[in-house]
Amino acid sequence: MIEDQLGRCVASWYKGATGVTGAAKLSGGASQETWTFDIVHPSGTVGAILRRAPPGYGASPGRAAGLDAEATLMQLAHDAGLPSPRVMHVLTAADELGTGFIMQRIEGETIARKILRDEQFAKARPILARQLGRVISGIHSLPAAKLPKLREMSATKEIADLEREYRSFGWPRPVFELALRWLRARDPGPSKEVTLVHGDFRHGNLIIGPDGVRAVLDWELAHLGDPMEDLGWICVNSWRFGEIDKPVGGFGSREELFAGYEEAGRKADPDRVMFWEVMGTLRWGIMCCGMMQRFRKGPDHSMERAMIGRRASETEIDLLRLLAPREK
């Protein structure tokens, strides 16, 4: 059924396309889905991805940039020569597929454990941190005038959001209190530079090949703010998958990340990056608690969600390692 709809949609903008095959849902909650499919064409099939909110799910939840904004950002990144899929089509009402867009499918791996351990990525791992520094630098340099409308965030607002969410759980966590206090005491105030921030620049949202990074995905949390946020987030220990001495995604050093960032024409501020790493660690911890809440209240009563609630303590030990390191 979705193949018929996609086939009609694709025929309206892809010259010579005769239909689509192999449609399969990759992921999806109630309001947002990702599908992979192949466009059939006399000159060969073309891999494509549909990202959509199905009909009836127009509005995007609180923090989300919205699918139209995501499409604009991906295309801007693509046009700037950054590793980003080409957007092939933005859905219209006539497509009857909901809201969203269709993009080029890029082959590669997003699963951290494979990227960090499999032999085929052995040559990529040592170059990734520097590469990603250049990529995120390019993202931060995308021209402000061309950006879609996005929410503007600051450290102050982020601390307040995290605190409100944490308090709503009604479950005491002295380590989170300590982190909130630490962050408030060191809040750098409004950032001198406000740029596009990807908002979720980490394993899972990066397609990696044996040659290195191939695409940056999932712009759902994109916003305007302090560019150091992205550099801090990718250093959060939760994304190192056991390789705790390699702060950037378990494959590289902060120095390599910063060197790449500066090669592409921007300046990293290590203190502010560390501030955002603490913020990010707390943020992931609070997100883990939030998943536990959604498990308890339904509708997603899955044991995966329940078990993620028990990962909040991982961020507590990481916060203590950052804020109250013990004598070795």
């Binding site: 005491p172 966590r173 002295p174 380590v175 209190e177 300590l178 909130l180 206090r181 220990n237 190192r240 056991g242 390789e243 705790i244 044991m303 995966e304 329940a306 078990m307 028990r310 990962r311 303590s313 991982e314 507590e316 030990i317 990481d318 203590l320 390692r321 804020l323 109250a324 013990r326 070795k328």
Partner: protein, 124 residues
């Protein structure tokens, strides 16, 4: 008094059956879910073994830190408020040690294979 076998023995028996007999037969996304399920059962057995001792020690530390009495959750609420208000911080004698011990005890149940935890076990 409830009879034997104990909850721990029952959960262990189920977890071992799932691990040894069922895991080899399951493929795809359900294999992932099965692993999560077995992890949950293992977590419960760790909690049943460790919780009483670690909660008692935590409550004793909290009573000393706060000079107050109450259940372990009440005491944790009181400590949280004091940290939020700045009455207690890392300069307060005993706070850092208390938070470290409490967190290590949580990880011993939640994720004893977490790399940060294993590193810190070696440090102390």
């Amino acid at each position: 008094m409830q009879d034997e076998p104990t909850p721990t023995e029952l959960i262990k028996a189920v977890a071992d059956f799932l691990r040894n007999e069922i895991t080899p037969e399951i493929k795809g996304h359900n294999a992932f879910k099965l692993r999560v399920g077995i992890n949950a059962l293992d977590l419960v057995t760790r909690q049943l073994a460790l919780e009483q001792g670690s909660d008692a020690a935590e409550a004793a530390r909290l009573k000393a830190l706060l000079s107050a009495d109450g259940s372990v959750i009440e005491l944790n609420r009181a400590l949280s408020e004091k940290i939020a208000e700045g009455e207690v911080d890392l300069q307060t004698p005993g706070l850092s040690e208390h938070l470290w011990q409490t967190t290590m005890d949580k990880l011993a149940v939640d994720q004893p294979n977490y790399a940060s935890y294993k590193r810190e076990l070696g440090n102390k």
